[in-house]
Symmetry: C2
Subunit: 139 residues, 2 copies
């Protein structure tokens, strides 16, 4: 038995790739367009960690994707949580829970999927501007 | 960068362990009770695949956990999809999308988290009772 992926639905593939690929730093492993079913699947994973994937499902016909409380978040360990948060900010992503402790941050995808970022290994030294950055909303 | 886990919230820890551990076949890696925060975390993974985890968050104070469309499902490859579905049924789990094709099935957790099961490798030969079993609800 083996974990394959977590699937999340997305309403805008370009915005979602800007988040998951460009801002978060995942790599696209493969894309599958299914015109007969009017959907596109994109599988991504952390670089060098292709076993554990996230699958984006983009249905070509518009739908409203509300969030729910039973799903919590996706979590990734990152090499430098400050660098990751800077990259996310540079792509216009709000850091909802800044890494004030040098260890943990939360952001949200364009479709409100919560993503937890944890510093790999020991926390980084506490540093500005993160240390005094307030939370924004919920995550 | 490395995938850590997908977190889902649960309203009943015993029912959830009966599903994720006993029926689905995941292993409990660790449990963390946090009385000060009034929550319990349980981390599970497929046997032999402990890198990719699912985290159950059980908040001690009752809450309603509705589902949402932005989250899709968790997916696992299994060694024998018929045996897995039999074990799930033996634990009272409805097979919402039976493996009619010897390849794919869907079930739901007690909190309506959709779980996709895919036969590892080639599909199994089509076989009853699965081949003629209808879908139940949505997944």
């Amino acid at each position: 038995m083996r974990y394959l992926h977590t699937m999340v639905r997305v309403t805008d593939l370009e915005k979602s790739l800007a988040f998951y690929r460009d801002a978060l730093g995942l790599e696209v492993l493969r894309t599958k367009e299914v015109p007969s079913g009017r959907f596109t699947l994109v599988f991504l994973a952390a670089p060098g960690d292709s076993q554990a994937q996230v699958e984006l499902t983009y249905n070509w016909d518009p739908e409203v994707l509300e969030g729910g409380r039973n799903f919590g978040h996706l979590a990734y360990a990152v090499d430098n949580i400050y660098a990751t948060c800077e990259r996310l900010q540079a792509h216009g992503v709000t850091i909802q829970r800044p890494p004030r402790d040098g260890y943990m941050a939360f952001v949200r995808s364009p479709d409100n999927i919560s993503v937890e970022l944890l510093q790999a290994g020991d926390p980084l030294p506490v540093a500005e501007p993160w240390a005094s950055m307030p939370n924004v909303g919920k995550w």
